[in-house]
Symmetry: C2
Subunit: 340 residues, 2 copies
Amino acid sequence: MAVTIKQISELSGVSRGTVDRVLNTRGHVAPEKAALVQQVAQQLGYQPNMAGKALAARKKSYSIGVLLCSKGNPFFEEVIRGVKAAEKELTDFGVRIQLQTVKGYDDQQLKTAMQEIAANVNALVLTPVNSKIIADEIDTLTASGMPVIMVNTDIEGSRRACYVGSDYMAGGRVACGILRLLTNGQAHLGMLTGSLRILGHNQRIAGFRQIMKRDCPGFTLSELETTEDDDIIGYENTKRMLISHPEIDALFLVAAGIYGVCRAVQDVRRNIMPKIVCFDATPQVQELMQDGIVQAAIDQQPFRQGYESVQTAYQCLLTGKPPRQDRILMESRILIRESL
Amino acid sequence: MAVTIKQISELSGVSRGTVDRVLNTRGHVAPEKAALVQQVAQQLGYQPNMAGKALAARKKSYSIGVLLCSKGNPFFEEVIRGVKAAEKELTDFGVRIQLQTVKGYDDQQLKTAMQEIAANVNALVLTPVNSKIIADEIDTLTASGMPVIMVNTDIEGSRRACYVGSDYMAGGRVACGILRLLTNGQAHLGMLTGSLRILGHNQRIAGFRQIMKRDCPGFTLSELETTEDDDIIGYENTKRMLISHPEIDALFLVAAGIYGVCRAVQDVRRNIMPKIVCFDATPQVQELMQDGIVQAAIDQQPFRQGYESVQTAYQCLLTGKPPRQDRILMESRILIRESL
DNA sequence: TTGTACGCGTTATCAA
DNA sequence: TTGATAACGCGTACAA
């Protein structure tokens, strides 16, 4: 049977209260007693009992804020489903969620939203914008003792507690691998990324290039273009790309704007359709797969991203420590028509 | 905040003890009071608090038996890892696991093992052999009040509490789908199943045929052969198949014996290698994928099968009821070289 | 038949 | 600085 606080208190000859104070570093303990308790706990390999912890935590009623730059982005619907699933499981443990979404990527606006929501919660889960203003705000909250967890998008140069989300490099590698299999290793590639300024998109391309260089001597890159995550821009740029590069027989879609790209393909091409691999199996993409336009989608488990980020925030609140892992990365899954 | 027994007792004007007796149908309660409590609980949507339940259950120290026909089958190593992961999580809740493996599929031997292990545990997780002897033994244990849960393989005509494992039909469908993409829809197929007497294998073939009929007019089935899950038999039968059917350019491997099949392919074919899709990414299969012999493997999450089956058994013990779902099915995942 | 009281492990509070 | 005690939700032994 696992070690309990009671056992430690008996073995070290102090009260349960003192043991609790030592283990949770609440102070107000004589140094020699603290040292003794520490040693005994160490020796017995004490691991706090989750059931007991959860039950006691119920009295406190934690509040977790979830702030997503997700308005109008269907990808995040699954993330939100995951958040709500975690919320449901954690109500037993006295947790309530405050979910808020903002539109666009304006860092000033996001900062304001962060401050508002942070005033009412004990922990914060958010999709950051990659900007110094946001990094600083994260550091301010972290310094005030609030666990701040990134979901889906990471930010550089801040003291966020943890990142939960896609492994963009790995996703790019898998995308190249499946395209290699779809084309028998011979392809004239067109690449459509979202934006060259977005870290995740560039990491996907880097992963793709890595496999391409190593395993795909028969691949040539005809052109790299952007969609700005927009269907209309994606449509126009793809049309132009396909007309000026009639040899293109495979498309790697790095980010959003997928529907626009596919419409352009259908408008320009009649006979030989290019093989298309993209990311995120949103309902729209699922339809394109059903119609045989898109052959495969790489999925990075949006539901789990939402679920795990909230669970991680709760663990931080419960233990008072940052998570063991600095990054919790989702596996890249290959989805095809038959796996829907 | 969620509803508690205490709240129900206050609202219905009876003691906590009585509420407990009603909700857990322990009897010894006046009918009118029972009805009242039922109604109040219903109305408030009472859901027992897992933390409290677990904590109380700790006194009892449940024991769960896990009996696998897995000796010498590398697939089950991941299942066992999942079992051990669940064990680790549940030690806090007073659960201990008794794991036992047997070799082969002899139903008499398995029955004996079941009886031995069942004498010392409160719940049983097992991979059954599809035989009446085993079905009857499961029913005997179920009748004695023990939850009996099937993992990886289901059994027909028994009162097992639940099945946790592969969705064989879905796996077959996905296998056909990926083969369709690998071959551009044109293929002369060779199929190698494990045994025509094993339900799961036949279900995989049924799923495959379903998609083949619907979506793959360019597929023709050259031959269907068995490996008896054995590398040597797989080697011999594949060799014969490839020689008598030189047109074969795609292989669907339904079960084990994969290494033998691949060796035969390498021995017989020199130039044009067939596309190969198989099940379960064991270390051996991963190596074959690295070498480019096998293009894709369908994975049915062995780790989760082990983990979820034990968790399900624990839930049965905790609630005293069979699980909500009759079958807990794993998603079929496509693995390629780059996703390893 | 019904109610009370205690214990599970942890945490918070109050008194010493 | 300490220790004792109550509370969280549930299960159950025991008393009424």
